[in-house]
């Protein structure tokens, strides 16, 4: 991938618009056609997800994100209009979303899970719409709007199929996220109130110009944003909604939700990374959330491991495994060096793919065995295949070689060498890894070896070969991540450098307006302070 491959800007814009508008148009079509046959609905949904995957792969391969690409909506220039920004990180997240979309849709169709409610496909598309929008937007309020879109779709998806346990978990999930949305608005409002802008890049510029008297408000608002993103990412102590939600919802939805915790982490990288970059932000604010991420990451990892040990069924255990990976990722993001972010991104791809696949496998276990808790059941059909897959997934998730989990954790540990908290991080990560191995070994032997030989399995359902395809795909991708680790880490290193060097992002995002910012208001201490909003509007 050579840098500076310039696409014709036109075709590029159209693809960015496609990524956001294709799912929403599909969702609208699916709602309008909700009385139509299943085949048509599945066709629309599958075609939409397939096109998304192809488009994100094309964007990735074309190298368009090597310099951040800006798409101003309605051609309004940057700080006034809403911009979409596509860079390497967005590209990676979009590709992960589309991959998970394909995997979980395949499984939903193969197991007829989508028949359990009329609007599964419409909600699925709306979910992808929200996710893609959140990964592309360069504007804080627009980020809020896309968060709401993806949350509203996820409330519906989470409840898909119905049932009392699902409703109960759904209520908790919804209430905590509504509180989070309220906090998000308070934070956005406070930022706008003192800085007079909502564009991420413009906010970063204005924080650099702000007088010290405003630092308190800026820090308070940014920490409120951190709380919101921590709810989304399920960091300690705000993770209590996650195990219930992920364990109770249907398997394809849980697989798609594997990207949801990453939305919170992405938002931390994007918003706080841009706002408090060393190049622009005042020194006292630069490391605002780093220590929080680090300590909350350590706590999340410990609590999640205890949860994995204590979980009473496989799905809940996988949900806690997701939580453990969130803890690990938070630690790496909190260390906040180029190497640690590179390592975090590698682990990030690994955990998103494998936890999605693990949820699908847990569902297959549940279908074959009648239940996925630790009670002794009759032997399940195809126990060797399922058990073998479980073994590979468990090794990957716990971080044993030769799968990606091992390399991800090794890279993260390598990147924290020399950090002041090195001892604590090593101790926690290594101890929890051992505990995860023990817990998963115990689950595996309970599920596959402790078999009731007296009785015949009567409730077993078999699944079609497409469902197996969905379970195998994440493993194949993980194997590819090991085989092609060198080019992949090279690419991730450049991505990490791009994340850390936000000046390029800011310059690109404000491109049409950057001259205005720097010529018409040369070195004014704080334009926002003098007259609160948009000083340059007056001159137009």
């Amino acid at each position: 991938m050579t840098p500076n491959v310039n696409l014709a800007p036109h075709s590029f814009d159209q693809i960015l618009a496609l990524l956001v508008f294709l799912p929403v148009l599909s969702a609208i079509a699916l709602i309008a056609l909700h009385r139509a046959g299943w085949r048509l609905k599945r066709l629309i949904s599958a075609v939409s997800v397939g096109i998304l995957l192809l488009a994100t792969i094309y964007l990735m391969v074309s190298g368009a994100g090597n310099t951040p690409q800006v798409y101003p909506m309605g051609d309004w220039p940057a700080p006034f209009g809403i911009v979409w920004v596509y860079d390497r990180l967005s590209g990676l997240m979009l590709l992960l979303t589309a991959t998970l979309g394909v995997v979980s849709l395949t499984y939903a169709i193969a197991t007829n899970e989508d028949h359990n409610g009329a609007h599964f496909h419409a909600l699925f598309q709306a979910q992808l719409f929200g996710l893609n929008g959140a990964f592309l937007t360069g504007d804080v309020f627009n980020l809020f709007v896309f968060f709401e879109v993806l949350l509203l779709a996820s409330y519906g998806l989470m409840l898909h199929g119905g049932g009392a346990a699902r409703s109960k978990a759904g209520l908790h999930y919804m209430v905590i996220n509504l509180v989070g949305s309220t906090l998000f608005l308070f934070a956005v409002g406070a930022l706008y109130g003192v800085l007079g802008t909502l564009n991420l890049a413009d906010l970063a510029v204005r924080i650099g110009l702000a007088p010290t008297s405003l630092y308190g408000v800026i820090a308070a608002a940014s920490l409120m944003l951190f709380v919101v993103f921590a709810i989304k990412a399920a960091a300690f102590p705000l993770y209590l909604w996650l195990p219930g939600t992920y364990a109770e919802t249907s398997a394809p939805v849980a697989a798609l939700f594997a990207i949801m915790t990453k939305v919170g982490l992405y938002a931390m990288l994007r918003v706080h990374g841009t706002l408090f970059d060393t190049a622009t932000a005042p020194a006292s604010l630069v490391n605002l959330i780093g220590p929080w991420e680090l300590w909350l990451g350590i706590m999340t990892l410990i609590m999640a491991t205890l949860g994995v040990l204590a979980a009473m069924n496989l799905r809940r255990q996988v949900a806690y495994l997701i939580l453990a990976s969130v803890g690990t990722l938070l630690i790496a993001l909190g260390v906040n060096t180029t190497e640690s972010i590179e390592a975090a991104l590698y682990y990030w791809i690994h955990t998103t793919l494998l936890s999605a696949g693990f949820f699908l496998l847990a569902d297959i276990v549940r279908r074959s065995r009648g239940d996925d808790d630790w009670r002794i059941q009759p032997a399940m059909p195809r126990a060797t295949l399922i058990g073998g897959l479980f073994f590979i997934y468990a090794m990957g998730m716990a971080g044993l070689p030769p799968l990606t989990g091992f390399f991800g954790k090794t890279m993260i540990l390598h990147s924290v060498l020399g950090s002041p908290l090195m001892g604590a991080i090593f101790a926690v990560v290594l101890t929890t890894s051992v505990l995860l191995v023990i817990a998963l070994a115990r689950s595996g032997s309970t599920l596959f070896y402790r078999v009731d030989h007296q009785e015949q399995q009567v409730t077993a359902q078999t699944v079609s070969s497409f469902a197996w395809l969905a379970v195998f795909t994440p493993l194949i991708l993980a194997a590819a991540m090991v085989i092609f680790a060198l080019p992949l880490t090279g690419w991730l290193q450049n991505t990490s450098m791009q994340i850390k060097d936000t000046s390029v992002y800011i310059r690109q995002a404000l491109d049409p307006a950057v001259s205005r910012l720097h010529t018409e208001e040369p070195k004014q201490p704080n334009p926002a302070h003098v007259s609160p909003h948009f000083p340059s509007v007056n001159q137009e």
Binding site: F141, L152, A164, S167, L171, M174, V188, G189, L240, P243
Partner: protein, 119 residues
């Protein structure tokens, strides 16, 4: 004077909202969330600075007010309205399915399923 009234109104709404959303029944929780969304809407509106007799249109009068927070408030109101409608439906659904309106659905021992208190 107006600022003090406005600020204390936001504070009062937020306090009441937080108090209600910590209750154990779903109905007060929904009310609390609604009050919180009212508070945040007023807060957003206030972030454009409080001005009287100023239109949100440039060039029509000497004094104007910032139109952006008003647009933000509109968006926030629409979203909060949709969310409130959804959470009410969900609360009714859990009330029907769990047989009580406790947020954990655990007033009686019959619904004591695996997993224990999950949230």
């Amino acid at each position: 004077m107006m600022s003090i009234l406005f600020a204390s109104l936001i504070g009062f709404l937020t306090a009441a909202g937080v108090f209600l959303s910590l209750r154990a029944q779903t109905f007060p929780v929904v009310l609390g969330l609604t009050l919180l969304s009212y508070a945040v809407n007023l807060f957003l509106f206030g972030m454009g600075r409080l001005k009287t007799d100023a239109a949100a249109v440039l060039g029509k009068s000497a004094s104007y007010t910032d139109p952006l927070p008003q647009a933000l408030v509109l968006t926030a109101i629409v979203i909060a309205f949709a969310m409130t409608a959804f959470v009410i439906v969900l609360a009714l659904k859990t009330r029907a399915e769990l047989g009580n309106d406790h947020v954990d659905g655990e007033d009686d021992a019959s619904s004591n399923e695996q997993g224990g208190p999950s949230a």
